[in-house]
Symmetry: D3
Subunit: 230 residues, 6 copies
């Protein structure tokens, strides 16, 4: 099957990283089609960036949608998820959403470790919207800017690890959701280090998108996700 993996920001190296994470977990017969919203901001950190990215993201999705079996939006705040569903017949999965659902299958209670504090209210709003706020003990900010993750500074790993340790101790978290597409490559080693599930949104979203396609599901076209009126 063919899965469109759209990065709503314009940083091509983040798209590449997400693509690598996607291919690592995808079925042998799944084609990952990476896309970058080239005119969008280089990172999406907070409500304003999300808003400014939407037409660029949706344009990318609509242009590449024919022939695609599912769409994954590779930004942890699930940029444009509702609008993309309205635009698509095929399933659309956000990496934030997918990570929350994945964690819900593996533990009673998880915490999220994200980048900047400014992103926390948007993530909390998403959790409430999806209904999964009661499963999340706390959304924690590591105060690492998104693009610093890209630069591979080793101090960055320790800042994330500090928040994981605190989440286990203070929040009673039984699993951790990494709250940024740029943290995808940290998940496996942090899971080994802490001995608990560390959930990556890209891996979760790609495999869940495959699952929805395999099960034969499509996006509902009545109500909120009806096709836009043109």
């Amino acid at each position: 099957m063919r899965v469109l993996l759209v990065n709503p920001n314009s940083t091509v190296s983040m798209t590449a990283k997400a693509e690598t994470a996607a291919r690592r977990v995808a079925r042998p017969d799944t084609e990952i089609i990476p896309a970058t919203a080239a005119r969008n901001p280089p990172s999406i950190q907070g409500f304003y960036d999300v808003a400014m990215s939407l037409p660029g993201l949706l344009g990318e999705i609509e242009e590449r949608q024919p022939g695609v079996d599912a769409v994954v939006i590779a930004c942890f705040d699930d940029t444009g998820l509702d609008a993309a569903r309205a635009a698509c017949d095929v399933p659309v999965v956000g990496i934030g959403e997918a990570a929350f659902h994945a964690a819900s299958f593996l533990c009673s209670r998880f915490s999220v470790v994200t980048t900047l504090g400014r992103s926390v209210p948007g993530i909390e709003a998403n959790l409430q919207r999806y209904g999964l706020a009661s499963r999340c003990a706390r959304v924690r900010a590591s105060e690492i800017p998104v693009l610093d993750l890209e630069r591979g500074d080793p101090a960055v790993v320790e800042q994330v690890a500090d928040q994981i340790a605190a989440a286990m101790l203070e929040d009673g978290a039984e699993a951790i959701v990494l709250g940024c597409a740029g943290m995808t490559e940290l998940a496996a080693s942090l899971a080994r280090r802490f001995g608990i599930p560390v959930i990556d949104g890209v891996a979760s979203a790609v495999t869940f998108a495959e699952a929805l396609v395999a099960a034969g599901y499509k996006t509902s076209k009545i109500g909120g996700y009806a096709h836009p009126i043109r």
Copy 2:
């Protein structure tokens, strides 16, 4: 004081109607500055239209913001509200949000009567986000397209009135929120007809914006509404 009243869709007659509603209730010393997001779709009906309108709306707000004391977003789904708050120091008020808060001061439980069913999930999501879902008995669709409201068809009033009657009987609604900027001129006569408060978002948002300015409040600039990183 100066209140920017932005219509996120491009239908100038809706801006004019909102401006009239705003001037009717504004303080004598308030200057209402109408604005229309000229390149946006003619109406905003559902998630996709909201998403496509955001940069146009935010551009309008940012261009006109200097010298303005408050911003009112004149679309009932509160298009771009979070992003506009991040972009502004002054208070930003959405007409949906304002109507829900106004109703909360006047009754225990209200219902919303909006246009198309496709807009209901977005309105419900807003109510939940604002925390006021427990005050709303039901969001009802009259199945009147936004632009039909503009044409002034008298049948339209009866479709709204039917939903109000049903809300009083079935939902136990003690007040009604009209769920579209285009319904603003119906509020007063429907309130008289049914003998209960019928809340109009434009009137609510303009007077609440004036209230926040008079009380000396500004948008918080820490956390989710911090200034965008440029």
Copy 3:
């Protein structure tokens, strides 16, 4: 317009302080009509004081109601708010309620700093009743008795400031609601000191009451706020 500002306790200096705060923000054409429930306790701290104050407060409101356009109840626990709405056709606004709504327009998440711990459960119950508990991170007690606020002890400001600092650090609060009518004069300087919105209930309630009157709204007279049966 004419706004009745009722202090449900019998401490005249608190009425005077609230009146000053009200006049500072009221429209030029608004007449603030102060009233003190003379036979009530000198301060209202907890459920018992609230209960004992109700007939005195309602008597004051009913006597002065003719010719008034709105009523503001100047006690942070919104003493008698539901009963006053049943007794009045005009809008009735509590200062606690108004402060929570004001904060909701300005930030994602606020904390409350009130006087004694014994008042916390009542405030939390109000937040839940109004639907705004999800917007409030925490209700904090400064353990300052109400009447100590009246005496103007400078140490009192620091006790409040300590709680604000803790709310920003520990609760992720983006704005602060001051949880007592007696704190009204501290709001502006604390807002400057901490660089975030510090919300005063009196200013919020007076300007929101003006807003509701200007928009032409009245209290619903069906359901819970129907006129009492005599």
Copy 4:
């Protein structure tokens, strides 16, 4: 043990009816001490009546409290419950509250059948406050005034029965809570007629009060129920 059974309204025949219901279920060694708040309104129907009854009710409780082991407030809206707890060391139980808790032990989901529609918002607010709103499918008004119940009109039973039938059919209610002290004598026959638990607040409150006393519990005197400051 000695249980004070206070009727917050001044209708002596309602006190007598509650006393009969209480004695029917009380332990042989329990002394039921009936009390009527003689200066209060003849019935309590909505927020205003509740408020006006509080000092009269609390005066009655405080005067008779010495030597009493528990207090039952015999009005379904739990008039003055929080304030009475602040005034007492012994357990205080409201009949509304007790009925909701009793129903929670017997079924997954119950509905309430009360008197007038104006009482519904107060009962719903109590359910939410107690945390038991999720257990209640719906609060239904039979539109029977409280004092009509006193007159023993047989039509009244059928109006209540109609609501019970509707609750079973439409709400999926597995048990019914009768929402007025004046309905106490209807419970047993309606339970037989419909074959489901029909819960009476007076019986529930008296036996729960006995239970709390037997278990050795007292009202917490820290936080919200601390003794009033005199």
Copy 5:
């Protein structure tokens, strides 16, 4: 990969039907290992049956667990899900849970159509536990006993279809979750007939289990799902 598909009841034809549904959607390289809890009741309808089935189900899981990559519990009330997670390192997915999560990716709001009314409270409790109650408009009973589904009576399809039609009309449901493993073969034709997603738990659970395995996740072994103490 190897997925254990356990039917907690002892009806072998239901296991076979679930196996067929599983194979239809599973990856080519997935081995479905069917298992039937042979000593359990022939169907699980309500809390008592669930309880009596647990040791038999857990015994089946523990015996077959070595060498298995994931476990699917093929009963819509997610019999023993928490206990099975405590017993397993690999992911465990219930078909009820999986269906709710699948629907959450495809629509704003879904309704469930299940068998008997007695099963509704357990399903509602699960939805609340998982956090997804806010996504579900209503759980509807078709009043078809589980084993009647097995017999393939054509009237059965129409009873389910009637509830789907009602859910679309009355609940505003945008998708339907079929609330019984025995309905699995009805999903595709009902989806075509009504033009909305009709979610089958078995297909959802098998593909989500594959997804979790492919993404490399395991059940958390701290907190509630720690290994039992032996």
Copy 6:
């Protein structure tokens, strides 16, 4: 009346301790009938133990049910409560549930102090299910294994006391619920030491069961607690 007191684990000394606690508070005319599920695990700590205990527990209840007026399940996680209600006409009360309800009559907000962290998610799920999660500030683990309580180690009391002190300071708890049948004998002395209500589940459940019987209530036999289909 006759109250069956079932210990779902096989540790006879715990049954004896619960029996002593029950007799201490029961009416003079109540016969406490102790029962131990002899083939069950020696303690129930977490989801797996709960599941494995259910048929043994239900067998015990069904065998002894004839002639019994109420059933108390003496395990704090309310093992098998829903299933036991389906199996019984008489009221069934769990000690966890009873303790939460008792605390709700005595304070605004309580905390729970239980044994191991692994039991916390199950207790939290129960609180949410019962609707009383909003009344509970926090469920705290003392990390004392159940059977260590049995051995009477004095250090154990201090570990519980430490958590009570923390709950009062950090959670604002106004009362404490002891979260294990094995803590029953600690309640009275801890209540004296800390000066707040310390709630024991056994005492609460026995007296509430007596209350439900005295009031004439039975378990609802429609919906979720309908008799099992045989």
